[in-house]
């Protein structure tokens, strides 16, 4: 319907052109839509931008907040592992240094050393002494491994080279996952031998358990070949291949996000061990850790939606008010225009009437004098047969001239731009006085004329002679309207800033059609008797005096004319 881009580019131009043309309801509807859309867009864009920014800001903050503890936990646990392994290998080293080969080769002595080791450090399964040829010389432990040769095994070769060795987890002869710690020692006489201890992996499980992870989280050790060193609940049992690829090597704890083989979005937090071929990996599903985030996101969305609704409601209301105001002022302007038009119409008709009246007055005066002269001559003539008849004709001419004179003088009165002379006056008094002019006719026709003037009626500033003309007009009309024996009531009362004068008759009343035209000049219902100027003049005077005139009428019931006149002096009158 409306191109948003267009509105954004030329919002005011759109409004202005519409205001100028706004007349029909369609225009208003269009204008309403434009204002509404403009307001909605102008408020929604920043709201949307804020919501989006907030969303991402929150998201990154939340991710950081979640990842940091994971990293710390992994680091701590890695340190525990390292400490555990370092302690064990140091113990073995210490024993290798503290005892001589013969001592260690003594079965009883080795047995005693082993029992002390087991007491002090948990996790030792057995302890063996191996000579430089790889033959186990002495052994303490639950298996019969004395005399076994390890020369072909990889760990033996590695310890011969490095002097110290911590193995991966493996099954070996013992048939349960274990780790060996081997230390090579050299005697003064140049002989080398190797002290070897086996650790069971229960200790690993214990350290991982101490991480106290949630049930859906997982943590495990894995070696660089991706072989599980401890059991995990989701990614393979001990010594199985890990079900997802190893993360890139780093000794500092790191966090990755990825989709695990079970299809869950997970955080993978991990760290490689610098001294052993292990990596500690902790896997945490995002679903559980992001629960807070989802709540926050929900709140954000809710607030945004609420904002949008509020913006729409506000825009709608404001537009409504705006359009209402515009319509109102438009109507007021139109009414003022109509009034100006009306008064212009009146004044141009007035000028025309004055011109006509002036032009007619001169020939009328000639007719008057000629006929008058005829009358004068006839008065001196002696009787002759047609004298009476001629006299009657002349009289008729003179009467008609008199009638014409009445009309032209009233026309001039209508056009007259009288200087309003304002004085402090008593409206009630003027009403009484004016009603007095007509008391003869009223009495003659038995018309009941009642004056109900409020004795407290304040004096007002207005024009005495013009008001007289107005009241005379109204009383004349009322008298013409009522039947013999009818009633006319004139009231005057205080009405706040105005004085209200009401003239009510119980005469014939008017049709709606007549009502529409009564203030127009030359509109008359008194066929032949009226000029149709009376109420028009009255209207003009009342307007000039800053007042107002209203009429109510019902056919067969009567007519009520209400005049309101301002009390105070108005500059506009001058």
């Amino acid at each position: 319907m409306i191109k948003l881009a267009d509105i954004i580019k030329h919002p005011l131009r759109g409004l202005q052109s519409d205001v100028d043309e706004a007349e029909s309801p369609v225009r208003y509807t269009l204008l309403r839509q434009k204002i509404f859309a403009l307001m909605a867009v102008a408020t929604l864009i920043p709201l949307l931008a804020m919501a989006v920014l907030n969303y991402y800001e929150h998201k990154t903050t939340m991710a950081r907040e979640i990842q940091n503890p994971l990293r710390v936990l992994v680091n701590k646990t890695k340190n525990s592992f390292e400490l555990f392994l370092t302690e064990r290998s140091s113990t073995v080293s210490l024993i290798a240094s503290a005892y001589t080969y013969p001592e260690l080769a003594d079965e009883k002595k080795l047995s005693r050393i082993f029992s002390v080791m087991k007491k002090e450090f948990k996790g030792f399964v057995d302890l063996g002494l191996i000579d430089e040829n790889g033959t186990q010389v002495n052994y303490v432990g639950p298996y019969a491994l004395k005399g076994k040769n390890y020369a072909e095994q990889r760990w033996f070769q590695e310890v011969r080279i490095k002097g110290k060795y911590v193995s991966d987890v493996f099954m070996g002869f013992r048939k349960f996952p274990h780790v060996i710690v081997a230390v090579q020692h050299m005697t003064e006489d140049g002989r080398t031998w190797i002290l070897r201890a086996t650790l069971d992996t229960h200790q690993f499980e214990r350290i991982i358990a101490s991480m106290s992870l949630e049930p859906d989280a997982d943590a495990f050790l894995v070696n660089s070949q991706g072989i599980m060193q401890t059991s995990s609940s989701n990614y393979g049992k001990v010594l199985e291949k890990m079900t997802f690829a190893l993360p890139p090597q780093t000794y500092e704890p790191a966090v990755l996000t990825m989709v695990d083989p079970l299809g869950r979005d997970v955080y993978v937090s991990y760290a490689y061990f610098p001294d052993a071929d292990f990596a500690l990996i902790a896997v945490k599903p995002q679903g559980s850790v992001l629960k807070t985030w989802y709540t926050v996101r929900g709140d954000l969305l809710f607030i945004f939606a609420l904002g949008v609704v509020a913006v729409f409601v506000a825009a709608y209301r404001v537009t409504d008010v705006l359009i209402g105001r515009m319509k109102e002022s438009e109507e007021r302007r139109e009414m003022a225009l109509r009034q100006v038009e009306h008064s212009q119409k009146l004044s141009s008709i007035g000028r025309l009437a004055a011109g006509v009246a002036h032009e007619i007055n001169n020939p009328l005066a000639i007719i008057n004098e000629k006929a008058g002269l005829m009358k004068d001559i006839m008065a001196r003539e002696e009787d002759f047969p047609a004298k009476a008849k001629i006299d009657a004709q002349v009289e008729s001419i003179l009467r008609s001239v008199e009638r014409c004179r009445g009309i032209t003088h009233r026309m001039l009165g209508f056009a007259r731009r009288m200087d309003v002379s304002i004085e402090d006056l008593d409206v009630g008094e003027i009403i009484k006085e004016t009603a007095g002019f007509l008391s003869n006719e009223a009495m003659h026709r038995k018309v009941d004329v009642r004056l109900e003037v409020d004795p407290e009626l304040p004096r007002i500033f207005s024009d005495r002679s013009q008001l007289q003309q107005v009241f005379l007009n109204l009383f004349n009309n009322a008298l013409a309207a009522v039947a013999d024996g009818g009633r006319i009531v004139a009231m005057a009362r205080d009405a706040g800033e105005n004085v209200e004068i009401i003239v009510r008759d119980n005469g014939c009343g008017m049709s709606d059609d007549t009502l529409k035209h009564i203030f127009e000049p030359f509109f008359t219902t008194k066929k032949g008797k009226g000029t149709g100027l009376g109420l028009s003049i009255t209207y003009g005077i009342i307007k000039r005096l800053g007042g107002d005139i209203a009429v109510e009428s019902e056919q067969g019931v009567g007519t009520t004319l209400t005049i309101t006149l301002p009390k105070g002096q108005r500059e506009a009158l001058a």
């Binding site: 002036h358 000639i366 007719i367 004098e369 008058g372 004068d376």
Partner: protein, 152 residues
């Protein structure tokens, strides 16, 4: 008041003013007629009338000018305005300039006669007052006396 009132009727509408003059003669008022302002002023200069009936709208010197001139030169000449065109302002101006009365055409003959007689009475009174003042004080110029009297 048995003396004939000397009238001067001024109007460019000859048909009208001649007829009016004839009617006035029938009513024992000696009427002279002028059809324009210049003639009227000359006639006043030759012989000042008692009462002047004057139209306002005329070619050449118009009624207001005539009125002004006449009242200046002959303050005791009473001027009655009889016009078909007069507006409220015209009426006010004429009254200020010292016109006796202001009528609109067409006018009832009896009313006009009454007005003329009134004007004549006024003129007589003015002259008497002027004469009294002239006797009381040592004024030679009656015009000035009337002027002073008006002010009081």
């Amino acid at each position: 008041m048995s003396k004939k009132i000397k009238l001067l009727l001024v109007d460019d509408e000859e048909n009208f003013i001649n007829t009016l003059a004839e009617r006035m003669k029938m009513r024992d008022m000696g009427s002279n007629v002028a059809h324009d302002g210049e003639t009227a002023l000359e006639m006043v200069k030759d012989e000042a009338p008692d009462v002047m009936v004057l139209d306002l709208r005329m070619p050449g010197i118009d009624g207001v000018e005539v009125l002004r001139n006449v009242k200046k030169a002959h303050p005791h000449v009473q001027v009655i305005i009889l016009t078909g065109h007069g507006s409220e302002q015209d009426q006010e101006l004429c009254m200020q300039l010292g016109a006796f009365e202001y009528h609109k055409k067409p006018v009832d003959i009896d009313r006009l006669v009454k007005s003329i007689k009134g004007a004549y009475r006024q003129k007589m009174e003015d002259m008497m007052v002027a004469a009294t003042f002239a006797q009381a004080g040592d004024f030679d110029d009656a015009d000035q006396v009337i002027h002073e009297g008006d002010k009081k």
